[in-house]
């Protein structure tokens, strides 16, 4: 890495080439993925070299196996989930003190929107793996039906997924088939509920007055500031 | 001293000796704690150490003692109460017993025993029992592991310690510590007797082995697995608080002082300084001070190493003792014996 005196034009050209080759590579990878998974691959999305794929829940484990064994994605980055339901709580979940002064309107239920690579259900698994030798990475998603929150475990392929799946289990209530032991990792054993679900209220807000939702104050303009100093002067 | 003491009754002599023993142990321990633990180490670690209690923090130890005395003496519920409570006293007793054989001058001694060094080595092992008692009696897993480690370690290092002394005994032809000092004072190195013959010169291997084994006996770094604070909290001392912890603490430093005194007697000429007549009555006054100076020097080495080196692992420690120190000490004995006969 010795680019001490490189000029901008060369840099920009190189970056554009790299981006192009990255895009081509991503297309090729997606093609191989759809060959391997068939209908299991639901949707995909590429953006600035980043690759998102959304697979059927049943293809979740096959995806991991394919990426790890066939494609050399040996590095396991993280596994988590997203609850796409818009939070049903608004300002009415703020503390009693705040609400007494300024009673909030109950929040209108908003439609569920999902992000890149789409989604059909409320809960979506989210994981990322890398290939450190070629610098490729892929973000995988899988829809989980709300009435049957279970997915095949990645632990047999990526042992590092163990703790991440335990976290997803306790935070979202997702069961992982084939996981060696789903038990609490952060929360105490007797904890009830799944805190990262959107319908789990953040009670800290309820019990403690909030110092201010929006702390953005406009910068004092020069003439305003002048007024303030004049007013403050004895 | 003999002259004065012989005119006093038994109980008077005994009380003088008890007071002298207490002073010798506590003063030495206190000085070592202040000079080495508080100050030398602080300077090594780019800090000042205690500065508030007394001039340059010299009364800090008093403050510490006051603090420890005020603390609650906690005994774990499942502990073996008697064993737990007695353990620190056993350790401290071994320190006091060690002191008994130490000569401080031509007449300034507690007992002049013909088996002096033998007695010293024997009573130094008593502290192992105290440590094992502490480890077992605490009913704590950390303490138990620490106690077991300590026992294995102390037993392993008794041997090189003892074997290192044998070289000195062969050369001095006596086991009486007083006579070992005199042998060094009156000795000569191949006919050159200006500084006598401190055995550190002829018995340097023995001295090195003795210091290493002593470091291990004192459970100081790099041999401090029994109290390894990053692994076992403080090993066998984990459950102790207040006065009993203080006893362990004082005992640690007092034992360091007494062991260094034995090393000074064996290898550095004890209370003797070259150039004076060893029979001079002056040595009854300056002898203890000379010995004390040599003790401070040797403990400086001990604590220098302690605060510089990392810690060995238990198996590495045993390997060092059995595979390196013991054979070396045996070779030293053989060489000394052969030279003794030949020269």
């Amino acid at each position: 890495m010795s680019r001490l005196s490189s000029t901008d034009t060369v840099e920009a050209g190189a970056d554009a080439d790299a981006a192009k080759s990255g895009a081509v590579e991503a297309e090729a990878l997606l093609a191989r993925l759809s060959d391997a998974l068939g209908d299991g691959l639901v949707e995909s999305h590429t953006d600035q070299g980043a690759v998102w794929v959304r697979v059927e829940r049943d293809a979740w484990a096959d995806l991991a196996r394919f990426l790890s064994d066939e494609e050399g994605f040996g590095f396991f980055s993280f596994l988590s989930a997203i609850d796409w339901m818009p939070s049903p709580f608004g300002r009415d979940m703020d503390s009693f003190v705040d609400n007494a002064l300024d009673p909030p309107e109950p929040k209108e239920p908003a439609p569920t929107e999902t992000g890149v690579a789409g989604g059909d259900t409320r809960f979506q698994l989210l994981a990322r793996v890398n290939d450190v030798t070629s610098g490729r990475s892929i973000i995988a998603k899988a829809d989980l039906p709300a009435d049957d929150l279970r997915a095949p475990s990645w632990v047999p392929v990526y042992p590092g997924a163990d703790w991440h799946e335990r976290e997803a289990w306790e935070m979202f209530g997702i069961d992982f088939d084939g996981h060696p032991g789903l038990r609490h990792i952060y929360l105490p054993g007797e904890f009830e509920g799944h805190p990262l679900r959107k319908d789990y209220p953040l009670l800290a807000r309820r019990v403690k007055p909030w110092p201010g939702l929006v702390d953005v104050e406009l910068m004092p303009e020069t003439d305003d500031g002048g007024d303030a100093t004049e007013g403050a002067a004895p | 001293m003999i002259g004065v003491l012989s005119e006093l009754s038994y109980w008077q002599v005994t009380s003088i000796r008890v007071v002298a023993g207490l002073v010798a142990v506590l003063l030495v321990a206190g000085t070592l704690v202040y000079a080495h633990l508080f100050k030398m180490v602080s300077f090594m670690q780019s800090r000042l150490g205690p500065m508030e209690a007394g001039p340059y923090g010299s009364l800090q130890l008093m403050a510490e003692i006051g603090k420890f005395l005020q603390k609650e003496d906690i005994v774990p519920r499942r502990a073996d109460r008697f064993v737990f409570k007695a353990a620190p006293f056993v350790v401290l007793t071994s320190t006091f017993l060690l002191l008994v054989v130490l000569p401080g001058g031509p007449d300034a001694w507690f007992i002049s025993n013909d088996l002096g060094i033998y007695l010293a080595m024997a009573v130094s092992s008593v502290s192992v029992i105290g440590i094992l008692m502490a480890g077992w009696g605490s009913a704590s897993k950390y303490s138990l592991l620490g106690g077991l480690r300590a026992t294995g370690q102390l037993i392993a290092y008794e041997l090189p310690l003892l074997l290192a002394v044998v070289g000195v005994v062969i050369q001095a032809e006596t086991m009486n510590l007083q006579e070992i000092v005199l042998a060094q004072a009156n000795g000569e190195i191949f006919g050159w007797g200006v500084i006598g013959n401190p055995f550190i010169i002829t018995q340097f291997a023995g001295f090195a082995i003795f210091m290493i084994a002593m470091q291990a006996e004192l459970t100081q770094t790099p041999f401090d697995m029994p109290v390894a604070e990053s692994e076992l909290v403080t090993g066998y001392m984990t459950e102790y608080s207040g006065l009993r912890f203080l006893l362990f603490f004082i005992g640690e430093f007092a034992t360091a002082g007494v062991f260094s005194a034995i090393a000074a007697v064996l290898f550095l000429g004890g209370w003797y300084v070259p150039g004076l007549d060893p029979a001079d009555n002056l040595f009854n006054v300056i002898g203890p001070l000379v010995l004390f100076g040599k003790v401070v020097l040797l403990t400086f080495l001990v604590f220098w190493v302690r605060f510089t080196f990392p810690r060995l692992r238990e198996d590495q420690l045993q390997r060092l003792a059995w595979k390196f120190l013991v054979p070396l000490a045996l070779a030293n004995i053989v060489v000394t014996g052969v030279l003794k006969v030949v020269v």
């Binding site: 890495m1 680019r3 001490l4 040996g74 590095f75 396991f76 980055s77 993280f78 988590s80 997203i82 818009p86 939070s87 929107e113 992000g115 890149v116 989210l126 990322r128 450190v132 030798t133 610098g135 392929v157 990526y158 042992p159 590092g160 163990d162 703790w163 935070m171 990792i185 952060y186 929360l187 990262l196 953040l202 800290a204 929006v214 702390d215 953005v216 406009l218 | 670690q45 780019s46 800090r47 897993k141 592991l145 770094t221 790099p222 401090d224 604070e229 990053s230 692994e231 076992l232 909290v233 605060f307 510089t308 080196f309 990392p310 810690r311 060995l312 692992r313 238990e314 198996d315 590495q316």
Partner: protein, 389 residues
């Protein structure tokens, strides 16, 4: 990615230990509970170790004593407020925590910080790396029983913290990074003082090299201990110096730079083939030196210009998803930010380095001795806030 002889030997030893444990007549094992309050676990990590004598049969880390639920809290904070929270994830290198989140938000908003802000950001990023890892270098010595080097570490880390404080106003939690740039410009004279601090850090590295790394006892305690083969490390998600010490030549700063200007300076990614505790220490020591060189070069070339891009006063991030990761002091840290166009992020998944780094411990601690638990944990180098979030 070759496995060295030492790795193989130690792996065989661990396997043999496993086999022996299984074959031996069943003796009553002992369960040792290390932590949550224990001098070796800087923080409140608890390790339940089943022992056979002094040998570990099985070890299971238990965490959550410091779980603060940042992923949930971030959903009710505005984007600028989130940096205050995530500062507390890896509290020794706080500024580095802010950077990937801000970069992710910037990517969603399609704004880019002006060059001067990017350079200063990178300088502060590397300074927090130095502040973090100097403490590791001293702490590792404490883990193996030498208590003096940690004082040197505290002493010299101070020089870096002073510089961070001078620039940002906060020693530990700068909260200085803003979407679109930085809060303030550098104070006058800061560059020269930082250079001086870098010299002191390099002297500190030399000191540690002599005092700790070259020490025979330290080497005896760390060489061949806790060997992680590269493929195992990768599948557990190990990052940073932990994986580079296993010979994987992967550094996000070099391989996928985004928003930081590491590609503008001349530096080297250090790797070590052994994968043991010593290698992890060695790589971190070299990285600290390398970071001082990066800072020195960056200070030479800070471009002039504004430090804030044009961003609205009230920040609403357009809908979208972005994942940005950077090479933080503890390893790769990334934020998966989902925005729905509101003041708040809709979902923030924090990929913290220590969480994955520590997840290898049940595999790694099997068959080692109790003293090696401590060296291995120390060499993996985790911050509790980074595990528990």
């Amino acid at each position: 990615m070759t496995v060295t002889e030492r790795q193989q030997l130690s792996y065989i030893a661990a396997q043999a230990a496993d086999a022996r444990v299984n074959l031996e007549i069943e003796t009553e094992g002992m369960t040792l509970n290390i932590g949550p309050q224990h001098p070796a676990t800087h923080g409140t990590l608890r390790i339940v170790a089943k022992l056979d004598g002094e040998q570990v049969v099985a070890a299971e880390p238990v965490m959550g004593y410091m779980h603060r639920g940042y992923e949930k809290l971030a959903e009710v904070r505005t984007y600028p407020q989130v940096t205050t929270l995530i500062n507390r994830i890896d509290w020794l290198g706080s500024f580095a925590n802010e950077v990937p989140f801000i970069l992710a938000a910037e990517r969603l908003m399609e704004v880019e910080a002006p060059p001067r802000a990017q350079w200063i950001r990178t300088v502060l990023f590397e300074l927090s790396r130095i502040a973090n890892i100097t403490l590791f270098l001293g702490d590792m010595a404490v883990q193996v029983g030498a208590i003096t080097p940690v004082f040197f570490a505290f002493r010299d880390r101070e020089h870096v913290l002073n510089q961070i404080e001078a620039a940002t106003g906060g020693r530990f939690h700068p909260n200085f990074d803003r979407i679109g740039g930085l809060k303030d410009d550098l104070p006058a004279g800061w560059v020269a003082e930082t250079r001086q601090a870098m010299r002191k850090i390099r002297a500190f590295c030399d000191e540690i090299e002599e005092l700790v790394e070259g020490n025979e006892i330290f080497q005896a305690r760390t060489r061949g201990i806790g060997v992680i083969p590269p493929d195992v490390g990768l599948s557990y998600g190990l990052t940073g110096a932990n994986i580079r010490a296993s010979g994987v030549d992967w550094d996000v700063r070099r391989d996928s730079p985004c928003g930081l200007v590491h590609d503008q300076v001349d530096w080297k990614v250090w790797t070590h083939p052994d994968g043991d505790s010593f290698a992890r220490f060695w790589v971190r020591l070299q990285e600290t030196r390398e970071a001082t060189k990066i800072v020195d070069q960056l200070l030479d070339g800070i471009p002039s210009g504004p430090i804030m891009a044009k961003v609205p006063v009230i920040i609403k991030v357009p809908a979208g998803e972005a994942y940005v990761e950077t090479e933080n002091p503890l390893g790769v840290m990334g934020y998966y930010v989902v925005s729905k166009g509101d003041l708040n992020p809709f979902r923030v998944k924090i990929r913290s380095a220590s969480f994955s780094n520590v997840s290898i411990t049940p595999w790694l601690l099997r068959g080692v001795y109790v003293p090696d638990i401590i060296t291995i944990l120390g060499s993996l180098y985790f911050i509790l806030g980074d595990i528990d979030r």
